[in-house]
């Protein structure tokens, strides 16, 4: 913990790599409305972190504070080892970002728009600009439409152009806010492969998405936001592991089964399909043994594959209190 | 470093600088300076030193004219905003002079040199040439004369000496120059609307730099003619020559049809009025007669766009009155009153209406 919190120690040669981005106690209030609060986010270097959350959960606000676009009401942001927003000039050249949809001038062609972004890019010399723009267009498959006005682009093409501008130069950290928004399946696959390439090249990626399957397919880490709070964060595999710790028992004698399990101090609750049993403190064979002992007729016992979607749904459901209790049991220690 | 605080202080500092700058521009130079310390001088000595100046030295200056007499005066230049020059004057100290009068969209230039006076009017690009005449008498009563405060003030001072108290009321600054303030106050017996006439005399050249006419019950001058800029010193000789530009209509001033304002006609009209003065001093009243049908007859007005009868014009700002004189119209302003009766009599003076009625009654 001590080594991690001091970026300066890294240069001395400590084994820990500082995170690409880290926030501490981040809070933003817009005209009396709390947009995000207590956000302690950490994007480990080299990770592909998926940021999940329903609309209005504070994903974009968090990203904008991360990039220094918005000054937090309180809390700290560190991006690539520089405090934001004051260190923007040092940190941002290493960061490529696509935030809140692609922002381009509608009356300029795709190429002209990218040339404009490139002109502002500190890492490019003037001589390198035409090549960098050409390559970026090629990379997102827009080379054929480079001369067309941005206004005439389809939603997917606009999104690709945004991706191209984020990837104009090699980055250490790429932030993609809803990158697959408006893309067809082929485009989605391309974005996935772009993320995979970035990951392979050692670039840290932060992706926010409402498409959970995307996150599941591409991310190594996940952070879940709900109503401005980080409700879960950690490695994807660990979170999914936690999500599987349930057993669904199909039985006609629901009440009997729940009573029997509670008597054996096993957490269980009735659900429409039968009885849902929490496996955190017990194992499947023990549950079956208890039920048989109590004479409960069991049609089927199934280990529940929650997947990220179920996890997400549980974490962000608005029927808060009961689910928060669930959450406590659901999350692994290190993610709480 | 708090960016928000920096932002706020930058914005505040910049705005404050700009606003202070604007206020500095707005406040006339030397407004807050104490009045200059000048050697004391008696009123008589001051008037004498003014009157002894029989010619205008070489100078250049800008002249402002402001009036707040409570009436629009046709023919006079419109009142200018504070500090705005309406005319620029140049003199070479040797009798030649140049006056440029700003008339909004157009400009009149009067160049007088070696007995020749050129009047240029940019509105119709006409040039009028007055040869071998003395421009001082020629121009009497025209707006151009107002732009010559030196001459105007000198006349007024000389005329008023008898019926007025003459004092030197400290010093001030006009057009950035230290001046003595010569104040003419009507003697208490004078029945006039005017409170005082204030002439600012340049301490160095002894030229009157500003003339203020103050009416009773008013803080601001009813009429102010004065320099806003004044620089004595030799002038570019080219200013005092005038070559009619190519394409301009040049007419001889002798056939006076060229001016929009028909001066000959007006002169003959004035002659026919049979003017007399009643009383003397501040409450002098000018009475006269005119053909009564003139009220309903067209008269060429200043800009040559006549059409309204004088009668209709008068009714716009006069109120109908009756008295021993019959019926008529009274036009009252802060500085004077005019009474026009329907049977063709007229009385004008810097006096209340009753004095005019008395004057008409003396006939």
């Amino acid at each position: 913990m001590t080594a991690e919190s001091e970026p300066g120690t890294v240069a001395v040669g400590a084994a820990t790599v500082p995170p690409a981005a880290r926030t501490r106690g981040l809070r933003k209030v817009y005209r009396g409305t709390v947009a995000v609060d207590h956000v302690d986010l950490e994007v480990p270097a080299g990770a592909v972190m998926g940021m999940l959350g329903p609309n209005g959960s504070g994903k974009t606000t968090t990203i904008r504070m991360l990039l220094g676009l918005v000054t937090p009401t309180s809390g700290e942001v560190e991006l690539l080892g520089h405090k934001m927003p004051d260190g923007a000039a040092h940190a941002l050249p290493g960061v490529g970002a696509l935030v809140e949809g692609p922002g381009f001038s509608p009356f300029l062609s795709g190429r002209d728009n990218l040339l404009r972004v490139a002109a502002a890019e500190p890492l490019l010399t003037s001589a390198e600009i035409p090549n960098a723009v050409g390559e970026a267009l090629e990379r997102v498959g827009l080379a054929h439409a480079a001369g067309r006005r941005f206004r005439a682009y389809s939603l997917g093409m606009k999104q690709r152009l945004g991706l191209a501008s984020a990837l104009l130069v090699p980055r250490r950290f790429v932030v993609l806010d809803e990158p697959t928004n408006g893309l067809d399946p082929a485009g989605t696959r391309e974005v996935r492969s772009v993320i995979a390439d970035l990951h392979a090249a050692g670039t840290t990626v932060l992706v926010s998405s409402h498409l959970l399957s995307e996150v599941e397919a591409t991310c190594t880490h996940v952070a879940v936001l709900n109503q401005g709070l980080v409700v879960a964060q950690g490695e994807l595999s660990a979170l999914l592991e936690a999500g599987t710790a349930n057993l669904l028992v199909t039985t006609p004698e629901v009440t009997l089964a729940v009573d029997a399990l509670r008597e054996d101090r096993v957490a269980a609750r009735p659900v429409p399909e039968g009885v849902l049993v929490d496996l955190t403190a017990t194992t499947a064979p023990d549950v079956v043994a208890s039920l048989v002992r109590a004479g409960v007729p069991v049609h089927e016992v199934r280990r529940q594959r929650t997947g990220l979607e179920d996890l997400f749904a549980r974490l962000t459901e608005d029927t808060a209190v009961a689910d928060l209790a669930d959450l406590e049991t659901l999350l692994p220690e290190d993610a709480r | 470093m708090n960016r928000k605080k920096t932002a706020l202080s930058v914005a505040a500092a910049g705005t404050a600088t700009g606003v202070v700058g604007l206020v500095l521009i707005a406040s006339p130079a030397g407004a807050n300076e104490p009045p200059p310390a000048l050697p004391g001088i008696s009123a008589e000595a001051l008037v004498e030193s003014v009157l002894s100046k029989d010619h205008i030295p070489a100078l250049s200056g800008a002249v402002e004219f402001q009036q707040n007499i409570g009436l629009p005066i046709p023919g006079l230049p419109a009142s200018s905003a504070e500090g705005d020059a309406i005319a620029h004057v140049y003199a070479n100290g040797d009798g030649a002079g140049r006056i440029s009068i700003d008339q909004g969209q157009s400009e009149r230039t009067v160049v007088h040199n070696n007995g020749t006076t050129w009047v240029w009017n940019s509105a119709n690009r006409s040039v009028t040439k007055y040869a071998n005449t003395d421009s001082d008498t020629e121009d009497k009563g025209t707006p151009e004369q107002l732009a010559d405060p030196a001459g105007t003030a000198r006349e007024v001072v000389g005329l008023m000496q008898r019926d007025s108290t003459l004092t030197v009321d400290g010093t001030a600054r006009v057009a950035g120059r230290p001046v003595y303030q010569l104040v003419l106050t009507p003697k208490p017996t004078e029945r006039t609307l005017l409170r005082e006439i204030r002439v600012s005399v340049d301490s160095e050249t002894r030229l009157p730099l500003r003339l203020d006419v103050l009416a009773n019950g008013q803080a601001d001058p009813a009429v102010r003619v004065g320099f806003t800029e004044f620089k004595p010193g030799p002038q570019d000789p080219a200013l005092f020559t005038f070559t009619p530009p190519a394409g301009a209509k040049v007419t001889d001033g002798k056939d006076a049809k060229t001016h929009g304002f028909d001066e000959k006609n007006v002169e003959s009209l004035l002659g026919g009025l049979d003017f007399k003065t009643v009383g003397e001093g501040w409450d002098t009243v000018l009475t006269g007669k005119f053909p009564a049908q003139l009220l309903s007859q067209g008269l060429p007005t200043g800009n040559g766009r006549g059409g309204e009868t004088p009668g209709a014009l008068i009714k716009q700002f006069a109120k109908e009155v009756t008295g021993p004189f019959g019926t008529g119209y009274a036009i009252s302003t802060h500085v004077g009153t005019a009474l026009i009766t329907t049977d063709g009599r007229i009385a004008v003076g810097a006096v209340p209406q009753q004095v005019l009625v008395d004057a008409l009654g003396q006939k």
């Binding site: 919190s5 300066g8 904008r64 990039l67 220094g68 676009l69 000054t71 520089h82 405090k83 260190g87 040092h90 941002l92 970002a97 935030v99 809140e100 922002g103 381009f104 001038s105 509608p106 009356f107 002209d112 404009r116 002109a119 502002a120 890019e121 500190p122 003037s126 | 960016r3 928000k4 932002a7 706020l8 930058v10 914005a11 505040a12 910049g14 600088t17 700009g18 606003v19 700058g21 206020v23 521009i25 800008a62 905003a81 504070e82 440029s100 909004g104 969209q105 157009s106 400009e107 230039t109 240029w120 940019s122 509105a123 119709n124 690009r125 200013l239 005038f242 070559t243 009619p244 394409g247």
Partner: protein, 289 residues
Amino acid sequence: MTAMTVGAEVGAPVRRAPLLRLFRSELRMILRRPRNIIGIGLLGLVPVVAGIGISIAASGSSSSDGDSVDGLAALVDGNGMLLPIFALVLALNMLLPLTGAMLAADALAGESAHGTLRGLLLAPVGRGRLLAVKAMGVATVVLLSIVLMAVTGLVTGLLLLGGDGMLSSSGTQLPFVDGLGRIGLTIVLLTVQIWALAAVALAVSAYTEHPLIVIVCSLGLLIVSGVLSAIPALDWLDPVLIISSWESIGEVVRDPLDWAPLGEGVLRAVCYMVIGISIAYGRMLSRDG
């Protein structure tokens, strides 16, 4: 820890995109915008149309008094060098302020609406530098529009109305070179005045995402100033109003020139620029991108 972090930031060289490159890119964008091209083109046509109008009006009634056209226009007939000045003073009433306000509106509010401002901030272009580039872009295009008007006006005037040198409103004939000087002076004075308005517009532009609001506010400022200056009881306000300087620009056709009101007008414009730019800068530093 904090000390070390700060130390690292101070020590490391910051790479920045060259200012000139940013400026060129900004200009290219402004001048590629179809609306701007059309607008500037129309501005260039104003003197041509005015010149044709004056020459028709003058030839139609040359036999009569010559009073067919009023004021400055009367002086332009047969006096072609005055046409650019006449057209510029004419455009100062509405077209040029509109141009300045429009450019300033596009510069921050428009870019913000397109989402491109965010892109520039992320590049990153420092907020101060961004404002500088934007202000320089607006200023340059304003100057360009005014110079264009002067050039088309001069060419039209010389071809259509002719004249030898420039006839000043004081009735003196200025040689050709002096005439050019007067046109140049008009360009400078007008540019400075429009810059002042554009600076104020830029401040508004930094506060909103809606370019139209900027244009409405800027023109509203002019209209309110006009109303205030027309109320005699508020005469004391006149020297502070932005349009007070605009009325004195007609002075450039006088001979000899009276520099006092012109200089005062420039100073007033500078004050407005300082106010506008510093408010815009403050907002740029603190705004959320």
